[in-house]
Symmetry: C2
Subunit: 366 residues, 2 copies
Amino acid sequence: MPVPELPERLLLGPGPSNVSAAVREALARPLIGHLDPAFLALLDDLQQMLARVFRAPPGSLALPISGTGSAGMEACLVNLLEPGETLLVGVNGVFGERMSAIGERCGARVRRVEAEMGEIVPPERLIAEIEASRPAVVALVHAETSTGVAQPVEAVAAAARASGALSVLDCVTSLSGMDVRVGDWQADAAYSGTQKCLACPPGLSPLVFGPRALERLERRQKPVQSWYLDLSLIGRYFGEKRVYHHTAPISMLYALHAALARVFDEGLEARFRRHREAHERLVAGLEPLGFRMLVSAPHRLPMLNSVLPPFADEAEKRGRLLAEHGIEVGGGLGKLAGRIWRIGLMGENARPEAVDRLLVALRSLV
Amino acid sequence: MPVPELPERLLLGPGPSNVSAAVREALARPLIGHLDPAFLALLDDLQQMLARVFRAPPGSLALPISGTGSAGMEACLVNLLEPGETLLVGVNGVFGERMSAIGERCGARVRRVEAEMGEIVPPERLIAEIEASRPAVVALVHAETSTGVAQPVEAVAAAARASGALSVLDCVTSLSGMDVRVGDWQADAAYSGTQKCLACPPGLSPLVFGPRALERLERRQKPVQSWYLDLSLIGRYFGEKRVYHHTAPISMLYALHAALARVFDEGLEARFRRHREAHERLVAGLEPLGFRMLVSAPHRLPMLNSVLPPFADEAEKRGRLLAEHGIEVGGGLGKLAGRIWRIGLMGENARPEAVDRLLVALRSLV
């Protein structure tokens, strides 16, 4: 069976984003073993870069989960929750729903503070609910990929800490594209995905557990329900002893190392600025074409833009954008399916050239 | 941070094995989206090849789990077991222990039929225990990677079916290196890893659920405890509707497609023969050097050879083999740590050149 021809695409959906030649070259390097001293040295570098990109507090464990962003979400929740404990989730989109569903499967009592898709979950309501229900864990979606909303998390994480709860942040879409400060914000755990602003293929979930999360893990009464995602076992491979747990996904780890190296070559602040500027250029170009932004200006994610298109046949237009212009944008999820487009400007694609190419194509469609 | 220099290695341990240039080129291809029609066409091919490599019965669901082989193991058990049900496991090594541990975490009542590491679990004892304990699921390690034992599974799977139980096979190390016949053997589910005889990097777990396993999944009382590994959700992306569950690991799926295409270009029978012949050449070359085989001849895996080295300082000798000759072999796991070497001849490495290069290096060490 021959390798099929694949078209060239400009990936301006909710991820994956395009990856650089450097990352692709890293992927293609010959394999070495997952216990080879040379590989373990690469992992040391990689883990240090992960801790830096999350701005994790001292004493954190930073590692890549061998699965996609949803595996990182599940890893955080199964490790931090025990059956019967209370999980408080802010739900204003598909990924808050997913956290809530995973919490249920952990046997947690799930309390939800909800908001409409496209709006933030008001911090004051979350803080009031922390006081009312005294949860063990508070979970927030920092960057809701289904809507493009940037959730304010700092005051909520601080309130969680003050009440003795742990907080978990979904940074799948935000990490390395906007400020993420796990330590300063007093958050306890966070996870991301590789295929968004990190500009690496999908398949790994960068994760960080701060000292309080690690302590909670040690004090568990029952084993973690997932063996594959049990951080007390995984942490022995990603800790000093490098004890085998499962075979590390070597090639993807090469790629993540190369992608993180590019992040720090550029510098986090410069990278955040690049994402912000691409976003501003997009918004300025879309409004004259009749697109409206779903999210109010103060709460927009720069790397994921939810827009209401000025035509009813959105799926057909998206299909033409892909087939005629080689540009992928995302459709809506859940209640927003058929109503919005999700335009990603992530990683390598957060550049004026990508924005302009999209705008030229859109002018030919509307 | 620069990309570190990586040494060239001949990977003759328990996996990963070396991958071909074709697979590395596939990994490095530009990304397209996980819902792109061109990508979905590639997935169609890939899933058909997976069903063929497992020789799955008609009506099976074959797909790659987005995690390593252990994720495939966990996927099988969490989907097929409900709390309080009985899991019967044959335990004669680390991977039978792992199945047993995962069964416990599913809330199953775990019954074990044990044998020494290096021996098979006698089928008649397994069959007697099926009759005695009437398990819901019987789990067997077809190829025990910690010992190099090939477990006879056919009579046990048939007895499981006759009793109404489902059977699950760990084919992580055996798939595409020796006969695996899920359909003919009346097994209901099986999983593998990509980094062994398939000669693809680690990171995916090929998995197959036969019709009876799919039916059991539909009749569950409680949701699967893992959201990430819930095949009733994953199966909607890998089924006709292609509904988003999690972002598929695009680059690794390119690689697996290319690796499977190579398997079928060669042909399964030719590939099995190549593995068998490499094994025979290795055994014939090792015995004069004073190495003894751990496993008796009828029960040896061709692709994973457990040997007792003729020296006490095995770890130092393995280190020299790696540092001076660029050859990786594996040490023992569990009770066999420090006592055996595990020599893999998997995928691209099941060739006389690889065997001879190892034998030359060993002659300089012993």
